[in-house]
Symmetry: C2
Subunit: 196 residues, 2 copies
């Protein structure tokens, strides 16, 4: 998948992505308590002042790193395939791929382990809120195109879609088969009053 | 709400419920690491051999206690109002009520705090699996009555229903308004191909 960058300016974006990748690696390896800025700087090959200049705290850094992944390619834009079915399926497929990666599973385990840490809870909340927002953008666009009625509750549908994936694959650790995800996409469209 | 008991034999059932209640109290007060059988015995007013005789481990005890509540009255049977809408709404209302109680919120916080404990993870998994099973029983009955087509994916619908509530109310800590729950019930029925 191509990675359109969020910032213009190639070097700045490359540094940002290297730091976010290094943050997730450090977090996956040692968890929240072991995640240190100087270790991340070393992994990313940047000076630690470069990190401090952009992110105000470890929490802000992890929030940004989680926001870029594991369920989203860094810098990826909201899916825009032209249909709700295509957009939701793109999100579902990306999640499916991410959940097969050992690193993603390590990150999920680390998040669960450190759920008692208030700073980390905030990062986890931000992560799931942004997943709901992303799914909501996709559902909202479908309402705009007339694929779903205007009465559709965009946030509720997004919460059902993301919530089913989180409960099934993340909380219960069940395998997400492609057929399951296709069913989920179809059920979400029907839930919104659309025709899959 | 009346509490039909699972076991016949009043005393046995009363002892069981007292122990399960005491288990949740102890867990809410001190979390997993502080949850001791002798403390639970004291709170329940039983001898600790009574507890050891029925539950093989702390994990089995907490699993049983979580299964009875916080989202379900101890000994409650599966809702059977005669309609899918009524049954799902009964589950949603019970959850809504439970989530308003400070004790339920304490239990949720304790579960999150101790997510790294393997024994506790197993109890949490069992809890959410049993919620999906309960919602699945209700959806399956609706298929049996012809309220939903036979092609409806019972487990998927149950996962969407429970997953939305978990993500919204438990993980994100958002308030569940009654209107939100009514929308969720209607959306779940539509997702299964039914008419709310």
């Amino acid at each position: 998948m191509s990675s359109p960058t969020r910032r213009t300016g190639g070097r700045s974006a490359r540094v940002e992505q290297a730091v976010l990748r290094a943050t997730l690696e450090a977090f996956a390896d040692g968890g929240w308590s072991a995640m240190r800025i100087d270790d991340i700087a070393l992994r990313a090959g940047v000076h630690k002042t470069t990190i401090y200049r952009r992110w105000s705290s470890r929490q802000a850094l992890l929030t940004a790193a989680l926001d870029a992944t594991p369920f989203r390619t860094p810098g990826a834009t909201t899916p825009n395939t032209g249909s709700l079915r295509g957009d939701l399926q793109a999100m579902a497929d990306e999640t499916h791929e991410a959940l097969r990666e050992p690193r993603t599973r390590a990150i999920i385990r680390r998040l669960a382990e450190s759920a008692g840490e208030p700073e980390l809870s905030a990062a986890t909340l931000a992560f799931w809120s942004s997943r709901i927002e992303l799914a909501g953008a996709v559902v909202g666009a479908a309402v705009g195109r007339g694929e779903l009625p205007h009465t559709a509750d965009v946030e509720l549908l997004a919460t059902m879609f993301v919530g089913a994936i989180k409960l099934w694959a993340v909380d219960l650790g069940s395998t997400t088969r492609r057929a399951w995800l296709e069913q989920l996409v179809a059920a979400t469209i029907r839930a919104g009053g659309g025709t899959p």
